[in-house]
Subunit: 162 residues, 2 copies
């Protein structure tokens, strides 16, 4: 039997925890859902989550998939049960840091590619048109600086995972 006091407490912790989880780039609902699953330690169906958080089932579906994508929850199999079951994974620190670092590395590497594209395109262009004026900064050089920055960021976050 769950007392009223316990529910109040539960809600307090969930809301506070969820705010931190949001910092890792999760939507408000994803964050609250994870916090809820983590706190209750329950293995739940979409319908139960929907009921528990008072949000639509569609939202539960997309949220839980987002969480699973980040490896923050796991799907659980039980014979005879047709519905999808999920539970929160427990090693908070490792999970969040890892998924977050991956996001950063992916994003910055992606941008770096874009910048290399520009650099390549630049080499096909008429140099005179771009370098002819000596007051404005040399964009070629600036581009290199920015690419270097991206490398640093990617490397930085990459190293953190160890």
């Amino acid at each position: 039997m769950i007392t009223h006091e316990k529910q109040v407490l539960m809600k307090k912790i969930m809301n506070e925890f969820a705010k931190t989880v949001e910092l890792f780039g999760l939507t408000p609902l994803e964050a609250r859902l994870f916090a809820y699953l983590y706190l209750t330690e329950d293995i739940m169906t979409l319908d139960e989550m929907s009921e528990a958080l008072g949000k639509s089932k569609t939202s539960m579906s997309t949220s839980i998939r987002g969480l699973a994508e980040l490896n923050l929850v796991s799907r659980v199999w039980r014979k005879g049960v047709r519905k999808d079951l999920y539970r929160a994974n427990t090693q908070l620190f490792k999970l969040f840091i890892t998924s977050y670092m991956n996001k950063w590395v992916d994003a910055t590497n992606h941008r770096k590619e874009g910048l290399y594209e520009i650099k390549k395109w630049l080499q096909t262009q008429d140099k005179d048109a771009i370098h002819s004026d000596d007051t404005a900064p040399d964009l070629d050089e600036k581009l290199d600086q920015i690419i270097t920055f991206h490398k640093q960021v990617a490397t930085f976050f990459n190293n953190l995972q160890k």
Copy 2:
């Protein structure tokens, strides 16, 4: 004299760079503004920025203040000039990492305080009401786990700055 080709190139780099800058928690406009200032190396007034980016002066005012807050741009003084002048700071990596880490440390410490409040409140409550049921998880314990998590995150980001 700035050629058309150079402007095109400029815009390409700016847009790509700005996307990365956004990752550090800046608004789209803040990001583009910084990228622009960084690329041109200009010292500009609000009106000039507004003109250059084609956005309102109000936006420039709030954006530049945001950037200054994060120490990504600096105000420049020139005798006889009444308007505010700003330029981008140049050591990209250091600047961005530092401001970002600070944000994280602040945010997580703040949440940690909130969680301690809950813990304190918990101790004033009737223990029986909360612990009476032995099937559901012990929230007291869960709370401690989450607080530990927050400490780890704060410590983690704090250590990165060195």
